[in-house]
């Protein structure tokens, strides 16, 4: 087992299939890769969607697909020239709080995060990804509630440390909440350790209260 704790909330088929197809925005891809690093079940499901991708590749060839006559020779020349292929290899496990794909974006583990504080104990760090989504680390002090908010688009929240509860259930380390437009929720960090989450959205959050709305431009969420 990758992790000893029980993971109860998993990725959806839609996210896993799009991740396998390579069509997820980068921020979502980071959350999926981080969850899969902690969850054997979703790793196996991801592998099965890769197998489906392999079957689509295997069965997709039409007359337009013929390669030019010289292309094999060119490829062999390329191989002989030893031009290294650029490909991302899986990284070894870190042994820290952050699984390898997240640690690569942060430049280290939890102790390396350059948090920005928002006075009330809530901290966040936005991670650099391509357009189409935004992704950030959230630090929610034990017992604190994140302002009541709804969503346009989809919001993924993956717990890395501690736990939170909202109107739907409890989420502990490795659990992922997939929230869509229907969900208005108020996540509350459990007592005990601070709750640290990786959260991604493909659209700005919309807050229902006035104060959070004022804070929104500063939080950039």
């Amino acid at each position: 087992m990758t992790e000893v704790n029980q993971i109860n909330h998993h990725l959806t088929d839609g996210l896993l299939m799009a991740y396998s197809a390579g069509t997820l925005p980068e921020g979502f891809g980071l959350v999926v890769a981080t969850h899969v690093s902690m969850c054997d079940e979703c790793r196996a499901r991801a592998a099965s969607f890769d197998a489906l991708g392999g079957a689509v590749l295997e069965t997709s060839a039409g007359p337009e697909a013929a390669m030019p006559a010289h292309s094999l020779t060119q490829t062999l020349e390329r191989i002989r020239a030893g031009r290294p292929s650029a490909a991302n290899e899986p990284r070894p496990a870190t042994g820290g709080v952050f699984p390898a794909p997240l640690a690569a974006y942060v430049g280290g583990d939890l102790d390396r995060v350059k948090w920005r504080s928002y006075g009330i104990g809530l901290k966040q760090r936005i991670l650099p990804v391509a357009r189409g989504s935004s992704v950030r680390l959230l630090y929610i002090p034990a017992g604190m509630a994140v302002p009541d908010h709804g969503h346009r688009g989809t919001e993924l929240t993956l717990v890395l440390q501690g736990a939170f509860r909202d109107e739907t259930d409890r989420f502990g380390r490795g659990d992922i909440e997939v929230a869509n437009e229907d969900l208005e929720h108020t996540p509350i960090a459990e007592e005990g350790a601070a709750c640290i989450c990786l959260a991604a959205t493909d659209a700005p959050l919309r807050f229902t209260g006035l104060l959070p709305r004022l804070a929104q431009p500063f939080l950039r969420i």
Binding site: D13, V32, R43, A51
Partner: protein
């Protein structure tokens, strides 16, 4: 074993010949089979012919260079080639990074179990046959997801996707993977 069932096993043999002997004839056979498929896949994903050809060459060069990383107990040859092509196209066509899950903490990979490897290659063939046997409408939907015509939320909303059929087909492979991971 029928031809169709044996196809993926045959490609695995070709890959071993590339890995162990730098066998150009074996590579030529892999190229002839997979390069047009990669090109077609990329064109259906929105690439123009020139870019798709360039990318297909690049992917096939990676197949040569990474042949030692192919693990027949974990993926069919077509699946493995697909993952290389997908990563290259994200890089090349979408100019994004694809975060990869961390590798499993297995340490040095032991010699893969022959029976597991054979079973997985055969299951990959059966999945190909199952995909071909789907009603055209359902098959097109799956293809649209892989060619990037459906977003993750469209996939979630799409009721015509035969994920149940596909899942029952790949259940065995899935159980095997789970077993291997557990």
């Amino acid at each position: 074993m029928t031809n169709a069932e044996g196809e993926q096993c045959e490609w695995a043999q070709h890959l071993y010949m590339v890995r162990d002997n730098k066998d150009e004839a074996a590579f030529a056979a892999l190229f002839e089979h997979f390069a047009p498929r990669i090109k077609s896949f990329l064109m259906k994903s929105g690439a123009d012919a020139g870019t798709a050809e360039e990318c297909a060459q690049d992917v096939m060069a990676s197949v040569w260079q990474k042949a030692h990383l192919f693990d027949p107990a974990r993926a069919g040859v077509a699946t493995w080639v697909f993952t290389i092509a997908r990563n290259r196209s994200i890089d090349l066509l979408r100019r994004q990074r694809r975060p990869e899950p961390q590798e499993l903490g297995w340490g040095p990979v032991a010699e893969p179990d022959q029976a597991d490897a054979l079973a997985l290659q055969q299951e990959s063939n059966q999945l190909n046959l199952a995909l071909k046997a789907l009603p055209v409408k359902q098959r097109k939907l799956i293809e649209r997801a892989y060619f990037g015509d459906l977003t993750h939320s469209e996939i979630a909303e799409e009721t015509g996707l035969p994920l149940g059929t596909i899942k029952s087909r790949i259940r065995l492979a899935l159980e095997r993977l789970r077993h291997g991971l557990g």
